[in-house]
Amino acid sequence: MSQTNSKSNLPVKGQSNAVTATGLGAAGSDENQYLTFKLQEEIYAFGILNVKEILEYGKITKVPMMPDFIQGVINLRGEVVPVVNLARRFGLKASEITKRTCVVIIEIGAEETRHELGVMVDSVSEVLEIDAEQIRPAPGFGARIRNDFIRGMGKLEEDFVIILDQDKVLSVDELAAVQQVREMAPEQLESVEEKSEEDAENKEG
């Protein structure tokens, strides 16, 4: 399965601004292209090079005793891939699961440690080309999310898009480390667990 192939078939259902093959094949190097998506009224982006595909939010298996931002695992054509609830990872309230909720599959790490992770977002928007000179460094304050998650602010016509640093947002060390803390004190986090359970059930309903 080639990357181009999977990108050109982005199965974003019922969305007029769904990414098309033409959108991707447009002039300009891939390095400057970003997949933008919405999360609670804010526009974020990941560099397109690491985005492998976009899936509709579907059957997900919850993994017990994991931090609340690990939504669970999914079957991606025979591979078991963890899915991160991005809103919770940002410390926000979990978004409601709608028809437009997507899982963006992102490849992280290099060589032997390379693996795929799914990221849950409210809706996928489009692939944008943002020149390097249009990208400002992260502001020192004022952002809703952790500063080190931000690789830069991309300037659009009248808006800004927050370009995420995937290695920080999806740092395996951090995802796994949090869980060890949790293992030491399971009672304290019991309430969080229940909440995420409710969400899981909402989505199934």
Binding site: T61, V63, P64, N75, G78, V80, H115, E204
Partner: protein, 732 residues
Amino acid sequence: MSMEAALQTYFTEAREMLEDMEAQLLEIEHQSAEELPETLNAIFRAAHTVKGSASLFGLDGIVDFTHVVENLLDRMRDGDIGVSADLISLLLRCQDHIATLVDETETNGEVSDDSLRLSRALILELGAFLQDDQPDSAKPGLPSTTEQGAETQDLPMGKGDDAVDNDCWHISLRFGRNSFRDGMDPISFLRFLESLGKIRQVVILDDWLPDLSEYDPEDCYLGFEIRFMSSATKKEIEDVFEFIREDSDIHILAPYSRLSAYIDLIDSMSEDDDRRIGEILIECGALTEAELAKALALQSTIEEAEQSPRLGDIVTKDDDRLSPVVDAAAQKQTQMRDAINRKQKSLRVDADKLDHLINLVGELVTAGAGTFLQAQILGNPELIESMSKLNDLLEEMRDASLKLRMVAIGATFSKFQRVVRDMASDLHKEVDLVITGADTELDKSVVEKIGDPLMHLVRNAVDHGLESSADREAAGKPATGTISLNAYHDSGNIVIEVGDDGKGLDPDKLLAKAREKGLVGEDQQLSRSEIFDLILRPGFSTAEKVSNISGRGVGMDVVRRNVIEMRGRTEIDSTPGEGTTIRIILPLTLAIIDGFVVGVGKAAFVVPLDVVQECVEFSEVEQTERDGQTYINLRGNVLPLVNIRNRFGVRGERPMRRSVVVVKAEGQSVGLVVDRLMGEFQTVIKPLGPVFSGLSGISGSTIMGNGEVALILDVQGLVQQITRGEHALEKN
């Protein structure tokens, strides 16, 4: 092939050669006089190839050392130096050292100073053997001269009327066009050649250089005419060029060769003008002008007589002395061809590619199961019929593809020859290692993981299992102890046995020791096999004294842990006075398990079927609670429970009827309380990846027939948590 890839191949091959060398060295001691020469030859060939290839890459650290070893081996081969146990031990150490050199070169690109020091120390030891019967050739780094010396003395005999007055070898080299592409650098061959003697003169032929417009920098256009002073044999010189023999034109003429040999050389060269090559021969001093004139004259008479004997023929005819050499060379070439043919029957495949294939086939089986499920829902008999046929084929295909990963355990077993030998001499015991079932195949991943546990078991058997020779004789047993390694298949499992005919285990002594250490309660009764299992407990050692080999009670615990990790188990059988056999029983493959699916709330969990003992109905009324741990009474036995719902925080309605799956791990039975029993399911294990690395109670995941992911319960872990919990409570 790029240089980097060629180098990689070299490291792999060198390791294989060294393993070969070790195996042969170990064999020598048991061999009769007739077999000895062939074995020595094989060892020599291994060392020689390691050295030869190393020199191609300019790996001096390896070349310098191996060369001395090779010299010694050469002398052994010639019968100048007799085989002795000391010598074999030294050679084994040398072989180890070469392996270290190869490893270091691969990881660091060079040899460490420590290793160079060791090289020098070993060369001194080797020198002692070399010196014993020939003091003048002990200078390391130079080829020995005895055998060739004898030859040189013979040479004047061949110096007849038409022999050329040239005391040097003459080597004509025409490198193949693809030499550079094959990773062969002409200069490295010349450098290596210099290790055999002195290059008097080199004429570089660039006649084939094309016009600049046609010039391809990756092509090799070079030829060399070399005048070479050396006492090496023709075969040794030929071996220098072993790697380019196929593609290149190589002619080697001995010192004082007959004129006719030169004529043939001139003939066989593809140069357009015979005179040109003649001039070159003069230029590098191989022939005088008069000799060339004579040769050319002779050549025309030969041509007139329509004789064009081959070089080999001329050499043989003219010079009987050389014929064994020619024969040997011809024979060697045949051998090499045979070896190449044999190799082609098996295929080297990247392990990752195989894993990928097996993964895909595993998916196919899963997808097939899903489709079959759909067919059953639809209830179309024809569809069900054809689906089940398809499923049968899929399962066969899976079995066949899993077999691709199967390798014979023999190679792992034979490594222990060395271990046993070294230990026996350290401990002053006489030990024989008997290997059976070396052909038994098992999954590559199992083979990789079984090495360490086996090492511990074998070391333990030699150190503790076997008595000293004196004790054995006193007990009426043969002085030489026997360690046996055996492997065989047994109903979907593979069984590996490590046995000894030593003193055996004494159950009473073991139990007493365990009680003393507090591992077993004073009034606790254990079965015979449970007592034997104690030796696998951490911190349990029956050895009276701790030796540097074993006795710290650490190794056996490692064995148990590794085996459990591989989803296997151990069995110990022992008769006091007669010996001990430890059996490791492993599943054939690590990738697929028979699972038992249970449902809790909306989630499905898989329990490995081989730990499931039975299923009973759960009744809340019957359970008793003590210090947060619940128990039920299972036919008079206390059965601790793990409520999966609570343990994993699963929410949802509790059904009226629930079940207890009784599982047994580490000798402890535990009941898992679940909502539903969903039956057996053969599953492909999918690791959960680094994000879930710290997760306890879950060992992996699998994809069910309906495409959903189910988690596999880590029964071992759950049981351990319970036993640990109990201990903690007892301490309070």
